[in-house]
């Protein structure tokens, strides 16, 4: 079966974010970007399913600016067979991304859509669920275990109440959580090989998707800062400090 994996280019998780003084957004120029960490986990899972012979072809897809090609190259180095780049210069909100990704999924007649549960830039946690909704497909979010058996997938989900297991008919959309697997490190030969793999350029128009209204971003600001407190020297000092504040 064909698997589609969406990969998003995001500011690297180690970067300390800075809000622009004029409130127009966060500083992204000259800042290190990487594949959204959850998408690395989705890629890894797709590759493992291919190694097991369950998945036969992996297609990586991204929606965004020219530079997102780097992210697709990483996905190809991970083991994607080919990639689709939906080029879009404007800001892409989850509903628009979902419409484009759903259109590619349909066009490719894929069986499995794997994506991160959330992008660590917008922290929206929406896109996978929206793709499933747009295509009227089953969804299994926050996956920590995926077992494919024929035309079905058994997915264990990390939810607040514990671990829930659902069975879904394929095709289906699965969004992945941190504990699903540990992504491999990319090896140089794979990175070199990835340079030769094909990237199919598409656009929202070519996929018949319109961007829609979306949310208007009024401003971006700094969160209220926590002030650095005091260092206590002993447990006794800590106990009396907590007592003074009426906390114990």
């Amino acid at each position: 079966m064909k698997a589609l994996v969406s990969v998003k280019r995001a500011v690297d998780y180690n970067v300390r974010i800075q809000v622009k003084p004029d409130g127009s957004g966060v500083v992204t120029d000259g800042v290190k970007h990487s594949m959204n960490p959850f998408d690395e986990i989705a890629m890894e899972e797709a590759v493992r399913l291919k190694e097991k012979g369950v998945v036969t072809e992996i297609i990586a897809v991204t929606v965004g600016v020219k530079k997102c090609e780097e992210t697709l190259r990483s996905a190809l180095a991970f083991g994607a067979d080919r990639a689709v780049h939906v080029l879009e210069e404007g800001a892409v909100q989850p509903l628009t991304a979902a419409k484009a990704l759903a259109a590619v999924f349909k066009k490719e007649e894929a069986k499995l859509f794997l994506c991160g549960k959330q992008a660590i830039d917008d922290d929206a946690n929406q896109t996978g669920q929206m793709i499933a909704s747009l295509l009227d497909l089953p969804q299994a979010t926050f996956a920590s275990k995926i077992v494919i058996e024929g035309e079905k997938a058994k997915v264990t989900r990390e939810i607040d109440a514990g671990l829930e297991t659902l069975e879904v008919d394929l095709p289906a959309v699965i969004t992945v959580d941190l504990r699903l697997n540990e992504p491999r490190y990319l090896k140089l030969p794979d990175i070199m090989k990835a340079k030769k793999k094909a990237i199919d350029p598409q656009s929202l128009e070519s996929l018949g998707v319109s961007a829609g209204a979306g949310l208007k971003i009024i401003k971006t600001s700094n969160p209220p800062a926590r002030t650095k407190g005091i260092m206590v020297k002993t447990v006794d000092e800590l106990v009396s400090a907590l007592k003074n504040k009426g906390l114990v």
Binding site: V11, Y13, I17, V19, V26, L95, I120, D121, D122, D123, A124, N125, Q126, G128, Q129, M130, S133, L134, P138, Q139, T141, F142, S144, K154, R157, E158, I159, D160, A161, G162, L163, E164, L166, E167, V168, D169, L178, R179, G212, A213, G214, L215, K216, I217, I218, K219, T220, S221, K228, G229, I230, M231, K233, V235, L238, V239, A241, L242, L247, V248
Partner: protein, 311 residues
């Protein structure tokens, strides 16, 4: 005037605690607030929902298909109700995060995730980049606004209200492509993380599941809930549902202890709203001390038992 529908999550036939905070967020939007209870037999939960302060009506939608709160099952039913409302709100827990986007896409609206402040019926603040920036957004009012609420940003409303309960039957086609198999519930007598007033969390420094008991013991002494860093969960010291942070639980206890936790931004994202943060770490340069109200440098294996004894 807005008309707000809140989708309740139900646990074992009882109303989930998150509803009280979701209603708190709906208050400043202004307008009528209704709660929808989807269950097999929602009478008990609906009766509880009728007491949530600020709510004027509870819709009870009984259906055998509603047993496990699956997104694909609830979405067509919620969409059928949505046409009468200006806002459909969900708690920003795994229940709401799973379902809300499915509803939003069906209504062709861009969802607002994790509302942390309400400026008007259409304008909200939400966190991005693990809460290291706050974004003020304006959502198109039509056809309706679909949003989740960041629970740590709101104080639960009380339970002395008296709304009416209306039994509603919805004719929507319910898919059978998704089936519940099992739930391995985290059973704990300890206070639930997201509503606990005190939380003690342990990190990688604990070193093993066995040694993590030092955290449970201390927490039990002070009646606290127990959390953990991702490193502690990944290492198998404690269950997944205890993870606090950007991609775990966002909490707001009055008192938080971070023990043997370095203070990565992803962890801090989960505790920004804590009243008082206490950090115990052997490294005086650990980033956790930059946000801690009280910091104590030293070996947790000595300091925590001592603290437990003296409190």
């Amino acid at each position: 005037m807005s008309k707000i529908l809140i989708i309740a999550d139900i646990h074992g036939g009882k109303l989930g605690a998150a509803v009280y905070k979701t209603v708190a967020a709906a208050g400043p939007i202004g307008g009528e607030i209704h709660i929808a209870v989807f269950a097999v037999d929602g009478a008990a939960a609906a009766a509880e929902a009728a007491k949530v302060e600020g709510v004027s009506k509870v819709l009870q939608i009984d259906n055998p298909a509603n047993e496990h709160e699956m997104a694909a099952v609830l979405t067509p039913q919620i969409v059928a109700l949505a046409k009468d409302y200006t806002h459909v709100l969900f708690a920003g827990n795994t229940f709401g995060k799973d379902i809300a986007p499915r509803v939003a896409a069906k209504l062709d609206v861009q969802q607002v995730s994790d509302i942390m402040a309400v400026h008007s019926a259409t304008s909200f603040d939400r966190p991005i980049y693990a809460g290291n920036a706050i974004c003020t957004v304006e959502a198109p009012a039509a056809p309706c606004i679909v949003a989740t609420v960041r629970l740590a940003s709101f104080q639960a409303v009380g339970d002395s209200g008296s709304a009416s309960v209306e039994s509603v039957s919805i004719s929507a086609e319910i898919p059978t492509h998704t089936r519940f198999v099992s739930l391995e519930a985290a059973s704990s007598e300890r206070p639930e993380l997201q509503s606990a007033t005190r939380v003690v969390s342990g990190g990688r420094a604990l070193g093993s599941e066995e040694k993590f008991k030092i955290i449970y013991n201390f927490a039990d002494k002070i009646g606290a809930g127990v959390g953990a860093s991702r490193a502690a969960v990944d290492s198998g010291y404690c269950p997944n549902d205890m993870q606090v942070g950007q991609t775990g639980k966002i909490i707001a206890p009055d008192l938080y202890f971070a023990i043997g936790i370095s203070g990565a931004i992803q962890h801090l994202a989960g505790i920004k709203d804590a009243g008082t943060i206490v950090a115990i770490n052997k490294d005086e340069d650990a980033p956790i001390f930059e946000v801690a109200d009280f910091g104590l440098v030293g070996d947790l294996f000595q300091l925590v038992p001592e603290l437990q004894e003296k409190l």
